[in-house]
């Protein structure tokens, strides 16, 4: 009987993985799932005197002045939330001065990661994947993704679930944020609860 039960759990978890893979494609036009990038390189070199650098990027869009955007910052390795207060302060100052390009800044949060969390990477040290350089983001950085989700939850709690969010990633935080948005950090977990009376 327990073996049957284990089978059911495994079947559900396996199904959950399939769901996640399927989910990564949901929400995008089907054509884009198979599309390749053909756009040209577009680099904007910012100089102190060039505050309105021109760009031909097709992704460029204007930001309404009255738009409000909250900010999630994904920190660099071993950096802590307090390290980025200067960034938030300068961001609000920039907005306050003159900058019409910048939307109103809402709630600002840093993914809440004490530097002690980085020790969790060491769990992967004795594994074959570490030596083969084939580590898996979901297993290795689950604690980072959890920190991001906690901060995002706080943003939505303060600003509402219709809040616009800008994610800024510093150093390693940039590609971790990219991994999260691409669905690499998400577990779809089915929990079965029995209540026996």
């Amino acid at each position: 009987m327990p073996r049957t039960f284990s089978f059911l759990i495994l079947a559900l978890l396996h199904g959950a993985n399939a769901f996640q893979s399927a989910f990564q494609g949901v929400g995008r036009p089907v054509a884009t799932l198979f599309s390749t990038t053909t756009a040209g390189t577009d680099t904007v070199v910012e100089t102190p005197t060039t505050t309105t650098a021109s760009t031909t990027s097709t992704a460029t869009s204007t930001t309404p002045k009255n738009k409000k955007v909250s900010v999630l910052l994904c920190p660099a390795q071993f950096c802590v939330p307090q390290d980025y207060q200067e960034l938030f302060e300068n961001l609000r100052n920039t907005r306050a001065k003159d900058n019409d390009d910048l939307p109103e800044i809402g709630t600002c949060r840093v993914a809440e990661l004490p530097r002690t969390e980085w020790i969790k990477v060491a769990r992967q040290l004795p594994t074959r994947n570490f030596f083969d350089a084939t580590l898996n983001a979901k297993q290795t950085l689950d604690w980072y993704f959890a920190g991001m989700e906690k901060a995002l939850s706080e943003i939505y709690a303060e600003q509402g679930t219709d809040a616009s969010v800008c994610i800024i990633g510093h150093s390693i935080g940039g590609w971790v944020a990219r991994a999260y948005l691409g669905g690499l950090g998400v577990y779809v977990l089915f929990c079965i609860i029995f209540v026996k009376e």
């Binding site: 990038t37 070199v45 910012e46 307090q82």
Partner: protein, 207 residues
């Protein structure tokens, strides 16, 4: 592949209730339910995230790099279609990569910053040329995603003219007693992406 995944998803959704009913019958329980967790914030964020800006982020690990410091993690992200800038833009996320060309890397220099930069650029790139620049840690060549992600190069501080460095602090990983204690702050004239004279150069890409 996606079709297969969608099929499996539908199969599991349709049959999960059956599984639960079977388990309910087998274990004689009166209440049996299941919850799906961890995705509500993710799904909401995929809808609500309007822009992603990376500052001083390495976005690729060249095949000829001396060592893969991320042990395959960065390669996984770079090769996953759903993490590509095109996929993110299709989700309505404006993607901008900011890199600095402020610090050259050279082993034949008395400048400590250039020596440190060279020792960082070399293992990441697998080579070191005379004109290789970056923010002192991440070479400019690795700081960008492919289009349609925008590429922004910041050169110097608009107030002091100082070159833009990788960070404004020095992390203190050895301080495990207080995990939230701030890192060591570098001097004010040590300009980075977050400095007052640099931030406006890329903050306009916040959407």
């Amino acid at each position: 592949m996606h079709g297969l995944c969608v099929y499996l998803f539908i199969f599991v959704v349709l049959h999960s209730h059956l599984f639960l009913c079977m388990a309910n019958f087998i274990f004689k329980t009166n209440k049996l339910t299941y919850y799906r967790s961890s995705t509500a914030v993710f799904r909401l964020t995929q809808q609500q995230c309007t822009s992603l800006i990376t500052i001083g982020t390495p976005h690729s690990s060249p095949a000829d790099a001396l060592v893969d410091q991320t042990r395959g993690l960065l390669r996984e992200v770079a090769e996953t279609p759903s993490c590509s800038p095109q996929a993110l833009v299709d989700l309505g996320i404006d993607v901008t990569c900011v890199g600095s060309s402020g610090v050259a890397g050279s082993f034949f220099s008395t400048n400590v910053e250039e020596l440190v930069a060279a020792s960082s650029y070399l293992p990441l790139m697998g080579k070191l040329s005379a004109d290789m620049k970056g923010d002192g840690i991440v070479p400019l060549d690795l700081a960008f995603m492919e289009p349609p992600a925008k590429r922004v190069v910041v050169e110097e501080c608009s107030i002091t003219g100082a070159p833009v460095r990788h960070a404004h602090v020095v992390p203190t990983p050895w301080n495990l007693i207080d995990g939230f204690a701030p890192s060591w702050k570098l001097p004010e004239d040590f300009v980075s992406y977050v400095s007052e004279g640099v931030l406006p150069q890329w903050s306009k890409y916040i959407r």
